[in-house]
Structure formats: C-alpha cells, structure tokens
Symmetry: C2
Subunit: 304 residues, 2 copies
C-alpha cells in the first residue's frame, strides 16, 4: 500500500483543488503535517512554513506580489501557475482585439451611428499581430489568430521559434517589431526589463491603425504616454485587462477615451480559477510522488 | 486577339471592381453596350435592362430587397454575393460571441465593477455552438470556433455534413438543436421558413447561459420574445448585427438591456465591400468568358 503524500490546501479548502489532490495521490492534512502546501490566497496572510514543507504551489501566474513580500525562500521548491491559465487568457486577448477591430465598443456607446462605425471597422485577416512575451499564452493565442487569417510575429527573449508562429524575434529587436506589426498583444511578465515597454517611443513607431491589447501586467504600459497616443490618434486603440494601478482612479482620463477598452482583470476570471488550476496541481503532485521534476518552478532571484 | 467582354459597372465605377473587371478580360462600357452589368447600388434606381444584358451581378448577399422590388427576371442570369463576404461576417460573428462571453460589454458600461463581471465571464472552450444556416459563413466560422476549443453543431436544410463541423443536423430537427447547444449563431437567409426562428418557444428551450448571435437578417428573430427572454434571464445575452427594423427605434427597449449588444449592420462593412467583392466579380467574369457556370446564381422564385 502506497503512503499518500500529506498536502495542505490553504487558506480555503477549495473543492476542485481538494478533489484533484486526492485523485493524484495526496492526503489532505493541516499545514503542520504537510510536505506540500497549495496556497490559494494572496501574499497577505501567507503562513510561516514548517521546514517539512518541500514544495509550495502558488495559484497565480504573476508572482511579483509574493516576491516583493519576501515570501519565497530557497529552502524548498516553489511553483507558480504560469501557463495553467494560458487558454483562458488567450481567449480574452482575442476577444479584446476583435472587439476593437470590429468597433463593437463604439457600437455599444454610439448605438446605430452607422457611417463612422462602418468606416472604422478593421479585420484580423491579413494583419500581423505581435505577441510580446510569447510563452504559454502566446502558444495558445497563435492558432486562434491563425484561424482568423492573421500572421503571428512572436517575440521572446531568446528568439527561439515559438510553436505555430510565422516568425519569432528576440526581444533585443523590439524596435523592428514596432515597425513591422499591425497590432500588439502584451503577454510578458512584469520585470524591470518589460517596465514601460509601451512608451512614447514605441507608440510613435507603431502604425496608426494599431490596436494594443494588454493581458499581462499594467506596468508594461506607460499609461500617460498611452493616453496621449490614443487621444492624438497615433494608434487606433488600446484594450487593457490590466492597468497600473488597478483599478485606475475613477477620474483617470483613460476611462473617457472612446478608443480605450478596459476590462477589470478578468482574462483569468477567479470564478473559474480553481477549476483551471486543479488539473495542474494534480499533474505536479503526480510528478512529486514520482520524484520527477515539477512544472513551472520559480525562484525569487529568477529574472523571469 | 480575344474580344473583351463589354461590362457595365453601375451606378458608380468603383475602382476595385473596375480593376477586377479589366484584369479578368472585361472592357468597361455603358449599359447600352453591355453584355454584363455589375450593379453596385440598391434596388432603388435599378435601371431598365437592355435585352443584350446576359448576366447581372448584384453586390449583396441577401437579395430579398431586389426580389421584392421585382428587379429579378428570367431573361438572363443573376448572381448575388452570397459567400463572398463570408470571412468578414464570420469574423464579426466570433467577435460578437466573444464580447458577450467575456463580458467586455459589461466592462465598458460598468467600468471596474469586478466581482459581478468576473463571475459572469464564460469561455468558448468546451462549449457547443450551433451555426444555423451553415453555408459559406458557417464554413468560415467553424475553424475559428474550433481553434477556440468549441464544438460546432452545423444546421442546414439537408443535414449534409458541413466541412469542419463536429456534427450537422437538418433544419427539420431544430427542436433538438435548441436543447443540445450552448450558443447559437444565426447565418441563414431571410425566408418564410426562417421567419421568427428565434421565438418564445425556441428561447425557452435554449439554456440559461446561451448567447445568441445574429449576423444574418433581423426577421429571423422575434424581437419582442427576445426582449422578454433577455429581461427574464431565460438566456444570457444576444448580440445582434441585424435587427427588424434597421435601425431599431430610438426608444426600442432592446437598447436599454445590459445583456443585448447591437452593432449597426457592419459584419460586412461597406467600407471594405467592393474590395471584398472585386476578386469574385473577376472569377465570375473569367467563367463567363470561358462559358463556364457562374458561382452564386440566384432566381426570384428560389426558396434560398
């Protein structure tokens, strides 16, 4: 008879995650008895960890909050949820891009003001879409864009070809990306390197018909520069699921722009979050039981 | 030396269509000298046709306006633009469905009201989408839906399998379609058979999470019944690019519903219309020159 791995699921024993843990060979225990902690909460309230905890699974893709709070240590393995929500986020990115291109936001606001709406409609077909930070989300988004007739220009650090894309460029060639793309989807993590990647200079290099979609993190965009570019028609529009800060202030001028769409950080809706996460917790737990390498490990000092 | 076919392009000599005509072996002439008329106008103003005109190419997909105006006769061949705009309309249908599922319309209206928006977000992944009237638009829409992880239930008159769909049902089994699908895209022509296909009964049979997208014709939907179904939460939402009448009256209660998205008949935007149409005019003209069968012929008495 195999011994089951003692796993703590905190701060709430979510039904989907608990079922996945039990199915994958885990036994639900309190943190004081656990070898594994699945932490479904925020950095606030993260518990002091007993030394016996060998692996902590975090629920989010972006873990800068945990890093900044000093939660991560080097005494055990840490995993994030990068890639686990990729399909969901990719779907939201496509939805935002199409809403903008097809002028659905304008239709909602201006009702049947047909002539100006009609002439502003653009198509994805034949357009080049740059996916900046083409990891899991990029791989999920690419076939959706290709099915819509777009060309995909992936951008990652190495420039190693991204599955399914038409071309991959390294991030060292960003200047070229801005000049060569029609639209931009931001899917990169928030790091010093990606801070204000969209700024006055990149906005000026992008074409006037460009839509920028951000499903990554707010700090990738210099919102002040974005505001003026949107107001001046330097680009066609922006669709943001993330902002800096979140939410934007009630009097943030971005709210008033007709060519700016903002959704409240729902690309990965929390309503479905644990359901999405559960199979990945199970997969990693099976690997843990087997002594295999875990998926999506992170460390505090990694420049991810 | 081949004689060029005399073609009239009226009422405006659109540059894209004229270029396509000349490239395909046509010579631009006045209507009194023409064997072919490419009519880029509405039924109003349609000219008296000289007997020498053997073929008239109409610019729209739905031709009920021409039929009702008594324009079509049986003295020559008539073609419509069915299928020529399929990619464009399919893109708009997907955009409308995703806008609804991802709650982008609600985000635009309610700003960062995160909790209720977040919990209302749904995904295309794993959902069944019925395409009712699966012709050219359906064939174009199917790979877009499949790339998004949906299952496609095509519905046509014959039930003959539609390319790429997971299952095709004949329209005689509509009752079953309403019960088995998650979402509905209407892409059928407006005929007596499709009049008020969406009515109190079909709305009651559809699931509460259902989104209905109409990129076909307004009369397919009983808007009174739709209003009450949307208001009562019988279905989740409707996204209409076409209505009956068009536009809806300014005080039409549909405008006030938070779960109804209306775009002003722009699935096939007139801004790009002649550009989309041009290659098809060229293809049909090449066929005409070669004495081959034309694509997309129609007749007044056809129950299309």
């Amino acid at each position: 008879m195999t011994t089951r791995v003692p796993v703590a699921v905190e701060p709430t024993r979510d039904e989907h995650v608990v079922a996945a843990v039990e199915e994958a060979g885990g036994e639900l225990v309190g943190l004081d008895q656990a070898r594994v902690l699945v932490w479904l909460g925020d950095p606030d309230g993260f518990p002091a960890l007993p030394d016996a905890v060998e692996w902590v699974a975090l629920k989010t893709a972006g873990i800068e909050g945990f890093v900044n709070a000093g939660v991560l240590d080097d005494k055990r393995t840490w995993t994030n949820a990068s890639g686990f929500y990729a399909e969901n986020v990719a779907e939201h990115a496509l939805a935002l891009l199409l809403t903008g291109l097809r002028q659905i936001h304008t239709s909602i606001r201006d009702h049947w003001d047909k002539e100006p709406i009609d002439t502003a409609v653009r198509t994805l077909r034949g357009a080049t879409v740059a996916i900046v930070g083409a990891g899991g989300i990029g791989v999920s988004l690419t076939p959706r864009l290709k099915a819509g007739g777009a060309r995909v220009l992936a951008v990652n650090r190495s420039g190693r070809p991204v599955e399914g894309s038409d071309e991959t460029l390294p991030s060292s060639r960003m200047d070229e990306v801005w000049r060569r793309t029609d639209h931009v989807v931001l899917a990169a993590p928030s790091t010093p390197e990606t801070h204000h990647l969209i700024n006055a200079e990149s906005l000026a290099a992008l074409p006037a018909h460009c839509w920028i979609v951000n499903v990554a993190r707010g700090p990738l965009v210099d919102q002040h520069a974005l505001y003026w570019a949107l107001r001046g028609g330097e680009i066609a529009g922006a669709a943001l699921d993330v902002t800096d800060p979140e939410p934007p202030a009630a009097d943030d001028p971005l709210w008033s722009l007709p060519n700016c769409i903002i959704t409240p950080h729902i690309a990965n809706p929390s309503s479905g979050l644990t359901r999405e996460l559960a199979p990945w917790v199970a997969e990693n737990l099976r690997r843990f039981v087997a002594g295999a390498e875990l998926i999506s490990t992170v460390s505090a000092d990694r420049d991810y």
